[in-house]
Structures are given as structure tokens and as C-alpha cells.
């Protein structure tokens, strides 16, 4: 351990704030309460760490999470004990499932009363244990700085994730001071994540890749988390292979590029899922073979030999057996793999690859994402296409969970990493708007849009107030179909259209709601008004605009791999007949 020597003595509360400064933390998203009042007092009057006061602790976690996804830096959260801490759980679990670096500080009742059912006591460490990468209860103020350092170290290295530090109130007592040392680096004997891949495995992978006749690259969130988009792009172009991305990987390879076949999985494109099913070599990169990707496991990629690059050994061969595992960070592994391929002087069989591309182009020609452009109703897909044009494909887009999320994934072609921000693993409704606030704080000069649904947006609607206070003029695109559309779609397909409680009889007037929070609201009901409304909203640079698009409520997300089906057994829209198209 290397210590920067400070001759200062600080209280626990001051240590917390000083440690955040030394860690270079820009923003802390929080909400006060008894157990953290000493810390709030230490935050008072300083400007280095900017505190963002949320309206509900869940909002704080999603803001910190959005900030982390858009920057790669850890998001930082502060909340009080008991209800403050329990309100964080959804947001912590959201970050955990998507491997997002986050450091959460919670207040706890004073050490002497822990375990006595004290006022606002709960076992925060116990409650959060299953949804954090690690957590700590600080019992000695002399270890506070080091523990905070450990938290940042663990959160941001290896497979990232949220780390929680629970701090009893007596530890932050302003009257007890101890010497302050913030370690610059830290090393834990029990935690040494791998960085470089094993050269023998990389060589084997290169050999297999060069023998491929029907190759496929399947990349995911690990490419974004590991800042490896340039390497992935170089690798894919070098080989001329087709590539698909998971929901979490979008932007890791340019969405407008010909080699990109679109997203794969439950709502993936026809060409991506067919190519997965037919490929003979699958190169999985920073993706975790989620069930929304694989479909029925025993019919997944039946002809493929699989290479899997992942920093977490537990992701490898968890759901699907793998032929060549490579444990390491995507970036250095791809760099070494590219070097190995170049050094070999060999290329994959060009004729085989050309024939494979011919097959893929036939699948692509099915044009599975086509929809009715003549409808008098606003089609949600149209809104997203127009959003893409209006923002030149350059906006940061967050979403909530449901049909609208899938339409962004399908129709907004992300060319760059960290621009698509959504909850994939946990699928947390309520994520989108607070996440957008976190993104906007990180990138004040960029367009930041939250695409949402009328059900999801109501789950964290209170953060509209936070958005006003901190001047984060995001744009909210509400695809208002007056249904929990994704639930309704499942009910249509598998429950004979019995729409059990997937419809809300009372939906607020979002225009007036936005206005009540001090923002601009717009309702758009006709297709011809979609683009002008978007353009007008983006012209209002310093206002949050809530665009309430009244969309076709019967629209479904296609293609769809229904539960229990194999990945190539997709349900296509009724207006597409694949047999005829491919004949």
C-alpha cells in the first residue's frame, strides 16, 4: 500500500468528504437523514464534490448509474440508514445485474446500538449482500479512508459492480479526529482480477477463427464496460465477419455499418438470429449468454465451436459449454488476438465467407423491422426513426423498460459506445429518467433523451423536480400507448388477449404534469407532427421538454422469440411471410 502522507487529523465525516475529493468524485447523488447528518455537515459549503439532492433514494442510484454508464467513472450515492438504505435496493440491484461501477455510502445507527432494533436501523449489509459486488460495515474510523479506497477499487476493476459502505453514525462524529491517509493504490490478496488473456488460448482462438467458414461475432456489454469498441471494430473489419450485439452491447460496433446485423435475441433481427443459429464458429466477446439471447438452450448455435472472451470466469460455460475460453479484459485480449491474426499471415477462406455473406443478405432482405408507414396513427417505430434523424444519431438515449425500450434498440442505430443507457439485466421500470439526469450532468452539451412509456415514467416521476433544480434539460419521449405494452403483448400472444391489469384507467395529463414541475409539455397525436415537435423540443436547449406521443396502442415488438422457443424460431410480424420472401 502506498500512502500519501497527510499530517491532518479529520473526523469520520470529514474523511468521507476528503476521500471522495481525493478519488476525484464530481457528483454525489443523495438524500439526507439522521444517520448521515455529520456527513452532510461536512459536505456543506464545499464545491469540489457537487451534491445532487434527489426526491427519492431510488432516483439517486439510477442517476449515479446513468452517470457511470455514460462516463465509465463510478457513480456515487449517499443515503441515510433504514428507509434511506432500503429505497436504494432496486437501483443497486439494477447496477449489479448490468455490471455498473458504483459506490454507495449509507449511514447506519451508532455502533453501540447496532442489533437493538434502534430507530431507523436495518441490516443494510445483509439486505444488499446478494446484489452488490462487495460491501463493508465500517467499525473503526481509522479504517474508513482505506475502506472507501477499497470500495472504489473493487467497484471499478475486473467485472465492475456496485460496492456499498455502511457507516455507523458514531464513526462520523465531528468531535473525534484521527490522522487521514488516503491510499493512492491498493492491493487485496483475495482479489486479483485478470487483465491479459492466456497466450496459448489466444493462439488456439486465432487458429479456430481462421478455419471458420460461417463465422459470427456476438459481442456484449463487456465491450462497452471495457472501453474496447475501437478494438472490436478493428477485429471485425480485419476479418470481414458479420457481427451482432446484445442489448447491452449496442454502440460497441457502429450500428450503421454493413457488417452489423442488428441486435440478437428475443427481439433481435431475423438475420442476426438466423446467422447465430447457422454459424460454425461463434466468437463471444464480453457477453454472458443471457436467456433472452440464447432462447432454448439445447438448440442454441447447434453447429458452432465457441470462443468466449470474458473477464469473469463464472460467465464462461455458465449456460452454454465453450470450446476456447479466454479469461481477461476484452481490450488487451482483442489487441493480442488481432496481433496473432496479423502475424499468422493467413486469412479465412474467402469463398466460404462470400457464400456466407450471400446467405446473410438473403435473410437481411426479409427486412424484418419493416412496419406500416401509411398508418394515420403514430407508429412508435416512426418516432424512434425520427428521433434518430433529428439527433443525427448522436444523442445519449436512456430508456425505461418495455416495448419502447426494444424499439429504441431496434431503430436507433447507435454508432458509439456509452450512448445507449438502459436496464437490461434487471429490467427496472423507473430507470430511464433519473439515469438521463445523471447522463446530462456528465455531458451538459450533448442531447440527452429518455425514451419511456406512460407506465414506466410514473415510477420515478418525482425526479422531474430534481431535473429542474440542477438544470438538466433532458428531453423525454413518452411513447404513450395507454398500456403496459410489453405486458399486453405477452397477454395477446400467450393468454388469448386477456389483458389482465395491463391497462391503466387513469393516466395523468403529462403535459400539465410537466408544467407543474416547471418544464415544457407537448402532446403529439398525428404522424405529421412528430418531426416538427422533436425539432422544436431540441431547439429549446435549456428546457426539459416532455413529449407525450399518443401512439398506436396495438403495436407489437417484432421479431419475437417466444418463451421456450429456439433462437431461430422467431415470430415475425403478420405482414411478413418468410417462406415467400426467401423463395
Amino acid at each position: 500500500m502506498v500512502f500519501r502522507v497527510f499530517r491532518v487529523e479529520l473526523s469520520g465525516a470529514e474523511i468521507v468528504v476528503q476521500a471522495l475529493k481525493d478519488e476525484g468524485v464530481e457528483f454525489i447523488f443523495g438524500y439526507p437523514g439522521g444517520a448521515v447528518l455529520h456527513i452532510y455537515d461536512a459536505l456543506f459549503g464545499q464545491e469540489d464534490v457537487k451534491h445532487v439532492l434527489v426526491r427519492h433514494e431510488q432516483g439517486a442510484t439510477h442517476m449515479a448509474d446513468g452517470y457511470a454508464r455514460a462516463t465509465g467513472k463510478p457513480g456515487v450515492v449517499l443515503a441515510t440508514s433504514g428507509p434511506g438504505a432500503t429505497n436504494l435496493v432496486t437501483g443497486i440491484a439494477t447496477a449489479y445485474m448490468d455490471s455498473i461501477p458504483m459506490v454507495v455510502l449509507t449511514g447506519q445507527v451508532p455502533t453501540p446500538v447496532i442489533g437493538s432494533d434502534a430507530f431507523q436501523e436495518c441490516d443494510t449489509v445483509g439486505i444488499t449482500r446478494p446484489c452488490v459486488k462487495h460491501n463493508f460495515l465500517v467499525k473503526d474510523r481509522r479504517k474508513l479512508a482505506e475502506t472507501i479506497k477499497k470500495a472504489f477499487h473493487i467497484a471499478t476493476t475486473g467485472r465492475p459492480g456496485p460496492v456499498l459502505v455502511d457507516i455507523p453514525k458514531d464513526i462520523t462524529d465531528p468531535n473525534v479526529k484521527v490522522p487521514y491517509h488516503y491510499p493512492e493504490t491498493i492491493s487485496l490478496r483475495s482479489y486479483k482480477p485478470k487483465v491479459k488473456g492466456n497466450p496459448r488460448q489466444i493462439k488456439k482462438a486465432a487458429e479456430l477463427i481462421l478455419q471458420a467458414r460461417r463465422p459470427m461475432i456476438y459481442a456484449g456489454g463487456g465491450v462497452i464496460l471495457g472501453e474496447a469498441a475501437p478494438e472490436l471494430t478493428e477485429f471485425t473489419r480485419l476479418l470481414g465477419f458479420p457481427i451482432t450485439l446484445t442489448l447491452m452491447g449496442l454502440g460497441g460496433y457502429p450500428g450503421t455499418d454493413r457488417q452489423f446485423l442488428g441486435m440478437l435475441g428475443m427481439h433481435g433481427t431475423y438475420e442476426a438470429n438466423m446467422a447465430m443459429h447457422e454459424c460454425d464458429v461463434l466468437i463471444a466477446i464480453g457477453a454472458r449468454f443471457d436467456d433472452r439471447v440464447t432462447g432454448k438452450l439445447d438448440a442454441f448455435c447447434p453447429y458452432a465451436k465457441i470462443v468466449h472472451i470474458d473477464v469473469d470466469p463464472a460467465s464462461i460455460a455458465k449456460n452454454v459449454p465453450v470450446d476456447i475460453p479466454i479469461v481477461g479484459q476484452v481490450k488487451p485480449v482483442l489487441t493480442d488476438l488481432i496481433a496473432e491474426l496479423k502475424a499468422s499471415g493467413k486469412k479465412p477462406d474467402a469463398d466460404a465467407l462470400a457464400a456466407w455473406w450471400q446467405q446473410i443478405e438473403r435473410w437481411r432482405a426479409v427486412d424484418c423491422l419493416r412496419y406500416d408507414r401509411e398508418s394515420p396513427l403514430i407508429k412508435p417505430q416512426y418516432v424512434i426513426e425520427q428521433l434518430w434523424e433529428a439527433t443525427r444519431g448522436e444523442a445519449y438515449v436512456t430508456s425505461d423498460v418495455g416495448q419502447h425500450q426494444m424499439w429504441v434498440a431496434q431503430y436507433y442505430k447507435f454508432d458509439r459506445p456509452r450512448h445507449w443507457i438502459n436496464s437490461g439485466g434487471l429490467g427496472t421500470m423507473g430507470f430511464g429518467m433519473p439515469a438521463a439526469i445523471g447522463v446530462k450532468l456528465a455531458h451538459p452539451d450533448s442531447d440527452v433523451v429518455c425514451v419511456t412509456g406512460e407506465a414506466s415514467i410514473q415510477m420515478c416521476i418525482q425526479e422531474l423536480s430534481t431535473a429542474l433544480q440542477y438544470k438538466t434539460p433532458i428531453k423525454i419521449v413518452n411513447l404513450n400507448n395507454r398500456y403496459m405494452g410489453m405486458v399486453r403483448q405477452w397477454q395477446e400472444f400467450t393468454y388469448e388477449s386477456r389483458y389482465s391489469h395491463s391497462y391503466m384507467d387513469t393516466i395523468p395529463d403529462f403535459v400539465r404534469l410537466a408544467e407543474a414541475y416547471g418544464h415544457v409539455g407537448m402532446r403529439i397525436e398525428k404522424p405529421e407532427d412528430v418531426r416538427p415537435a422533436l425539432d422544436e423540443a431540441f431547439r429549446m436547449k435549456d428546457r426539459l421538454v416532455f413529449l407525450d406521443f399518443i401512439t398506436d396502442r396495438t403495436e407489437n415488438v417484432y421479431p419475437m422469440v417466444e418463451a421456450g422457443k429456439a433462437q431461430h424460431e422467431m415470430r415475425l410480424p403478420p405482414w411478413i411471410n418468410v417462406d415467400r420472401e426467401l423463395a
Binding site: G126, R129, P130, L137, P313
Partner: protein
Amino acid sequence: MRHIISLLLENEAGALARVAGLFAARGYNIEALTVAPTEDPTVSRMTIVTRGDERIIEQITKQLNKLIDVIKLLDISGADHIERELMLLKVRTHNGYDREEIKRLSDIFRGRIIDVTACSYVIEMTGDSAKLDAFLANLTPGQIIEVVRSGPTGILRGERGLHL
């Protein structure tokens, strides 16, 4: 298949809960678990007996390794190893016949009688779990007052060891 996984972990509050929680959350089975500090008081040694096919055991070891508090682990059942479990057993000895018979049996199994009253014995016995099972199978249920078993611990044979 039965596996014995030995772990070295940080002797921290909550480390045991992390391991137990992992097994519960992922639906893995724990047949037995023992834990105690080692010669280095900052390190605990844990022995877990679990069951599962190869894929599950692979996931269990990977998931355990992922826990920040776990320093090292080894599936010792994959190598030549020694397994020992301690059993303390209290039996009824109502008549001279019982007393003789149980003592003889205990001697055969290399048990030691460490407490005697007019109508009971406490027997101490170590061995692998199968040996303890076999001993118990030789008693009638009416003879047993209580059985306390530590759960197995284990160590590799030869020079190789699990250490920091």
C-alpha cells in the same frame, strides 16, 4: 457426485454469510460446512461438502472464487486427500449387556468413551463420514440419546497444500 471444497477466506464478519448466502441464492446444496481461524488469525479455513454434476461444481467453485473475501480454494476431492469428521455420541446403557456391547463396538471403531454415568456413555470418534455412518448403523435407535457431528474437514496428502 460428492465434492469437498476447501477455502481460505478473510476472517471478516460476514464472510460466512456471503458463502452461505451464495449457496442459498443459487440453489446449490450444502451437505456440511465447517469453519475456524487458522494459524494466521486473519485467515479462516472452511470446508464445504456439496453435491452436483461437473457443471454445477465448476460454477460453485467459480462463484466462490468471485467472492471478495475468498482468498483461495481447492476441490480436494479431486486429489488424493484425507477426510476426518469428529462425532460426539451419547448412548443409553441400561444394563450390563448394553454397556459391554457398546464399549466393544466403540473399540472396534477406535472410539473413546469420555464420559460415563450409571446409564449413559459419551463416545468420541473421528473418521471419514462413512465410518461414522457405519458405527451409527450398528446401534439401535433406542440406544442413541444424541449425536453431534462436526461435519468433515479435509487435507491433501503429500507435500502439496492449500496455503497463502
